[in-house]
Symmetry: C2
Subunit: 356 residues, 2 copies
DNA sequence: TTTAGCACTCTCTGCCCGAGAGTGCTTATG
DNA sequence: CATAAGCACTCTCGGGCAGAGAGTGCTAAA
């Protein structure tokens, strides 16, 4: 199989070396992709002829199919098993045949409504995003928590729990909140901690982790311990420590590609191991927009049988996350793309509100 | 099938109506349960004889098996398919045959070590508990976040995001932290909010939601809005709003009971729909300790083919959660019970630290 | 260029059959 | 009387086989 670049740029590559597809070939390819995505069974000339009401005979369809196969858009699993789109076929479909890619506005309203309802519970945003995305796309969804690019401190609270144990609560300029437990070097009750928190909050407002640590020189042992742990916690909010949620496994299980437990386990391992996110994070650099990876276009071997639709979300340059949909190569790319785009926009809007 | 009460009390019921099992019958029942749990295949007299090195012939084993079947501890799926324990058989095993039920101390140390490593990240406790419990028990685990019984306010922070939008951060006396977004009735910047937060923090320390609302009379519009939303958020932390995590689905998928996607989907629906927790929450009333529900002993119909091991955890009367393990009826109850017990103790210890 | 016809291939399903494993019953034995 | 041995019977599982169904490529006709 040839090297392929991801994205619409692929179209140039096709045009450069061969004549373009005829209108009828495009129609047939579109019908095959739609049919195969819907049924999961390889599609043959006769059955396509029956189900589509196309104006030409099965024999003609066969000829066109052979041409499409010749050029790498279809393939032939067994001599008499009907045809199936190749990765390249899906790619062509996504780039040229898919048509309208906005989520139906009724769907948009449903989702919006759900977000309105729990707007206030910050902790649940990611979970809700994962759940709605999975439902809208009809596939497994993966959503990372927003990751501050360069977290700065906005607020700070210290809570005494036990003589030498307490809670540090941080709020960053992005509106993210983090709570960590902390040990003090000496006993400290709430009456000691509160004034310390107040003075540190003022002194550290807008500081980066490095700047926070620089305040440690000359401070008391307690203050030094606190400063250290604040800086660490703040650092922990960047890429490495981001929480990732997935949802909609039930959609995958209904599909024949995952009906055997071995394949389902493999998918589970991918989701649990975070290899999905780590594979996609580098793409964050490429800027905003929805990216599609089909089968062998994926960077990692274990993703070769999957289709992946991802997008970043967030406020440009300040805090970004990644969200996407994963399914078998045979997936409804149009639905997935429109869902991912819509939910990404929605989350970006919410992040913008939070940034203030 | 007869009505059965859960727990060791069952033994009385058996003894009351029939003669006790002979020592050899107990041995054979134990061997059958162990063998069936390990292999998943019905166990026959010859194969049991070969694998166990027991001192009697297959024919004798057959006779004892027939006796055990007669009394409801075993059953016979097909005329020649070997025997399988019934729910009652498992129950007898759990109550009398299981023996040592402490987690091996090497396992204990491993788990403890993992908790030490992330001790500081409060948000990750539940997730870690779910992950380690699943691993230790070799089954799917479910862990609810701790649920404060009667949450009282300990600390309070207000953060301005936009003119009329902000963040309220609460810390309860149990050490739980909650962040909610809030709308103000008038524009309010950080310089307005900080003094308000300070004065409210002092005034409301130790208050219940109702008491907080009672402060609203005669307060400013802004303060009233804040008080309202604090009270609501605090109320939301009790039972209804508790987060639930599960982990270890891969263990279920390796087992033949869930190898078909239909059964796996059913399990997924149970976990996602929260019906597991809602079925088990009433048991919280019965006090601490590990509870085991085997097959038809379960309250809900959809759980009839599952074995469930649950325990509460937390600080008595103040904050409690529930955690447990779910698998096919054919599960390693001894391993599950010891794992659940150990992790529950561990979490209780952590809660006690947090309570301060 | 399109279509009809045809021979061929491959999968899938149902069926049969034999091997293997397990049971219950009957009878022998210490 | 409890245990063991022998035996006929039953049921599942896997392989082999045939026929149906679906699909293809090729050739020839419209």
């Amino acid at each position: 199989m040839h090297e392929q670049r991801a994205g619409a740029a692929n179209a140039d590559f096709v045009r450069a070396e061969e004549t373009p597809l005829t209108e009828r070939q495009r129609l047939i390819l579109r019908l095959i992709v739609r049919e195969y995505v819907a049924t999961g069974r390889p599609v043959g000339s006769r059955s396509l002829w029956e189900s589509s009401g196309i104006g030409v005979s099965p024999a003609t369809i066969r000829n066109e199919m052979a041409a499409l196969e010749e050029r790498g858009y279809l393939e032939h699993l067994h001599t008499s098993g009907g045809r199936v789109p190749t990765d390249r076929g899906y790619r062509y479909f996504v780039a040229h045949l898919m048509g309208d890619i906005e989520l139906p506005s009724s769907e948009q309203l449903t989702i919006l409504h759900q977000f309105r309802q729990i707007e206030l519970q910050l902790e649940q945003w990611i979970e809700l995003a994962a759940a709605t995305l999975a439902r809208a796309a009809g596939n497994v969804s993966v959503v990372s928590a927003p990751i501050p690019q360069s977290p700065r401190l906005r607020h700070l609270e210290l809570v005494a729990l036990q003589p030498r144990l307490g809670l540090i609560i941080l709020v960053t300029t992005d509106g993210a909140v983090r709570q960590v437990m902390a040990h003090w070097p000496d006993d400290a009750d709430q009456e000691t901690l509160s004034p310390l928190a107040d003075s540190l909050a003022v002194a550290l407002r807008g500081s980066t982790p490095d700047e926070i640590e620089s305040h440690a020189v000359g401070a008391s042992a307690l203050a030094r311990a606190v400063l250290d742990q604040i800086a660490n916690a703040l650092r922990g909010m960047t890429a490495g420590g981001a929480a990732v949620r997935h949802s909609g496994l039930e959609h995958a299980l209904t599909q024949p590609e995952f009906s055997h437990s071995a394949e389902a386990q493999e998918l589970l391992a991918l989701l649990g191991g975070g290899s999905f996110v780590s594979a996609m994070l580098p793409r964050l650099e490429e800027g905003p927009g929805v990216r599609v990876f089909i089968g062998a276009e994926n960077p990692a071997d274990e993703l070769r049988r999957l289709g992946i639709v991802v997008s970043t979300y967030g406020v440009d340059g300040e805090v970004v996350g990644v969200l996407g949909v994963v399914g078998p190569t045979r997936m409804a790319y149009d639905r997935s793309i429109s869902s991912v785009r819509y939910v990404a926009r929605l989350m970006s809007g919410l992040m913008a509100d939070l940034r203030g």
